[in-house]
Symmetry: C2
Subunit: 110 residues, 2 copies
């Protein structure tokens, strides 16, 4: 789970996920072509995503085909919404209002 959060904490890696999602089976080279940084840099990002199980790689000859795996994100979401359920239900709007009025009060004091 820590690996997933860490993997998602970099813009390039999130973009790689976006790209692979829309281009299932993309090769390393296809992914590299999307970015300005070197092939090696992209390769490292892919490795981090792979270790977080966000990408699944299929080898075919000298090529590597990449597939997006949504399950770790689903797992995080499940844990998250469960833990934070009190905030994601009707109570949300009340909370919003409370925070906003708190902030207004704060601004007046500041």
């Amino acid at each position: 789970m820590d690996k997933v959060f860490n993997a998602l904490a970099h813009e390039t890696r999130r973009q790689i996920l976006d790209f692979v999602m829309q281009n299932a089976g993309a090769l390393s080279g296809d992914i590299t072509a999307q970015f300005e940084v070197s092939r090696i840099a992209v390769s490292k990002h892919i490795k981090i995503l792979e270790r977080a199980n966000l990408l699944i790689i299929e080898k075919s000859g000298r090529e590597r085909l990449h597939y997006f795996n949504p399950m770790p994100i689903q797992a995080i979401y499940d844990r998250w919404t469960d833990a934070y359920s009190q905030f994601f239900a009707p109570k949300l709007n009340a909370f919003k209002t409370e925070i906003e009025s708190t902030e207004e009060a704060h601004e007046k004091t500041a």
Copy 2:
């Protein structure tokens, strides 16, 4: 958005969120008491969470009261599920099966 992902990419910071969520209005000192690291280290983590808008701070005299703000996470989730909706719907199971068979095939080759 990058700030939010980065803020979530550290175990201690996720634990701070958990704690503040269940202890709305907690003081800096209350949060510090939950961890082994120094007050300063915790303070830095809090600052990162604050800048990501995941914590809202209300000053009261010499104290700082902390409140969890779920909205950035909600925003991420909205963006995420929208972008990845093709995977979070009925298709999910088909995809899972596809990946699993792919992996089996891969294991046999390896």
